[in-house]
């Protein structure tokens, strides 16, 4: 069953190196209807450590969704995506690519690596709000997410 059904907040992992974008997404999610628990990591290596609960991340919850930027330090978004989708434990978690890129190659590569959707960050704040609301509506209200097996 979905997290939302038993009143627990949706756990979102945001992988984003631009603090401005992180804060913007935090602010926008504050206005969201669905209760959410946003966790942020700033690079690709930390993202995988978080997901595999390694090191300082050993007590973190398992995310219901991953918001992934493509331009990341240490390990690129595409590499992180490939690792997630190759991992039996992680591959059910929906990955939303949220990036400034409008590049066809980036888009095709992301879907080839089984990204669940690809969104270009809009220039305008209102459009950005709409995008986050659309993610929220679609993924948390319309779509049934896989049961979260080992959530704490």
């Amino acid at each position: 069953m979905n997290n939302r059904d038993n009143g627990k907040p949706i756990v979102i992992l945001l992988v984003e190196d631009n603090p401005g974008d992180v804060r913007l997404i935090q602010e926008v999610l504050k206005e969201a209807k669905v209760k959410n628990d946003l966790h942020v990591v700033y690079d690709g290596v930390d993202a995988l450590a978080f997901l595999r609960r390694e090191g300082k991340y050993k007590d973190v919850p398992r995310p219901d969704m991953i918001l992934l930027d493509l331009n990341l330090p240490k390990k690129s978004g595409h590499e992180v995506l490939a690792d997630i989708k190759a991992d039996e434990n992680l591959k059910q978690i929906p990955v939303v690519i949220l990036t400034v890129s409008k590049n066809d190659e980036d888009i095709i590569k992301s879907y080839n690596l089984h990204a669940n959707c690809f969104i270009t960050k809009p220039m305008d704040l209102n459009q950005f709000l709409n995008v986050v609301k659309a993610i929220e509506d679609f993924w948390f209200t319309i779509v049934k997410l896989p049961p979260n097996r080992n959530n704490k």
Partner: protein, 342 residues
């Protein structure tokens, strides 16, 4: 006595010729070596060769009684001939080397131009693309401040926020404009045959909302099939029609598009009944970010620059005729290409 002296001189000259020939071999290289050596040998031995041939052919020794003076002249002429041949070959080699050098120079210049042109295009694209990231931050946070705090601060603060948001939005529009402008080159597709009537149809459907809002009427004569980049041609029509609507007079906009064949090109015209443009702006209006109006008309002044770039990329020209208060006709040409040629 005299003939003896002449004979000695002749021998001397022949020897000199042989020495020169050896020297020339050093200078000219292997190609001419055999010619020069055999000539020198011939100069020294021609008398004996002639008598040898005469014995072979007639069976008796014929003494060639050619005066030494003539022998000398023949020797000198032959030497001169050799020198002339050598010079001829040398000049050919020189001309060849010069031509090759010039060709290489041209090749280098063309490559250099191509590279710097590509670099410029890349620069424009990267600059406008990468500039968007920090600008997105400025614009987003200004909008967030506006959204959260409008009316909660004093009147001055609201006004300042309005100016800052407006500035960020305009900068954003300009960068987007530059990006669109640079994309005419970087994102161009190979030319193909496209129906101008369909192109116009696409442009009109993209402008559906502003056409309806302004009650604009758009008509067209019969339009030809032309060779070009479909998306760019749609954008060209779209920009010209959008401008005609934006700069409308009090009357509802009426826009007519037509095309006629003029020699080896199609002359398209987009005629409106708008406010018109003064002739003095006939060049300036196509420059990037050049505008003839203030804030009463939105826009950053890139639309017609993009039009000109698209038309020029298709090998045509764009210009206008206008009468203030009556309307404007924008003309552009698209060359007619024979089948198979691009």
């Amino acid at each position: 006595m005299i003939s003896n002296i002449l004979f000695m001189v002749s021998i001397g000259l022949q020897l000199t010729a042989a020495i020169y020939a050896l020297l020339l071999i050093r200078i000219t290289g292997r190609k001419l070596a055999w010619i020069l050596i055999s000539t020198a040998l011939f100069l020294m031995a021609w008398r004996r060769i002639v008598s040898f041939i005469s014995i072979l052919t007639t069976g008796k020794h014929v003494s060639l009684d050619i005066p030494e003076v003539i022998a000398l002249i023949i020797s000198i002429l032959m030497l001169l001939g050799v020198l002339l041949i050598r010079d001829y070959f040398r000049s050919i080699n020189l001309a060849d080397a010069r031509r090759k050098k010039a060709e290489e120079e041209i090749k280098r210049t063309v490559a250099e131009l191509k590279r710097s042109n590509e670099e410029l295009q890349q620069f424009a694209y990267i600059a406008s693309h990468d500039l968007q990231e920090p600008l997105r931050m400025i614009a987003s946070y200004l909008q967030l401040i506006e959204r959260r705090y409008r009316g909660k601060l004093d009147k001055d603060a609201d006004e300042f926020i309005t100016f800052a948001v407006d500035g960020a939005n305009r900068l954003q529009d300009m960068i987007m404009g530059l990006l669109a402008y640079s994309r005419v080159e970087t994102r161009g597709k190979p030319f193909e045959d496209v129906n101008a009537a369909e192109i116009l149809g696409n442009a009109i459907s993209n402008l559906k909302i502003i056409i309806e809002e302004n009650g604009a009427v758009i008509t067209a004569g019969s339009l030809p099939v032309i060779r070009g980049d479909e998306n760019q041609l749609i954008q060209l029509f779209q920009n010209l029609i959008a401008n005609a609507i934006k700069f409308k007079s009090e009357k509802p906009p009426y826009i007519h598009i037509s095309a006629e064949r003029k020699d080896a090109e199609w002359l398209f015209s987009v005629k409106d009944n708008g406010i018109g443009i003064a002739q003095e702006y006939k060049e300036r209006i196509f420059n990037i970010f050049q505008r003839l109006h203030g804030r009463e008309y939105p826009g950053v002044g890139i639309g017609l620059s993009i039009c000109r770039r698209i038309v020029e990329k298709h090998g045509g020209k764009i210009y206008f005729e206008s009468e203030i208060g009556k309307g404007t006709i924008f003309y552009f040409t698209i060359p007619i290409k024979e089948n198979g040629k691009t």
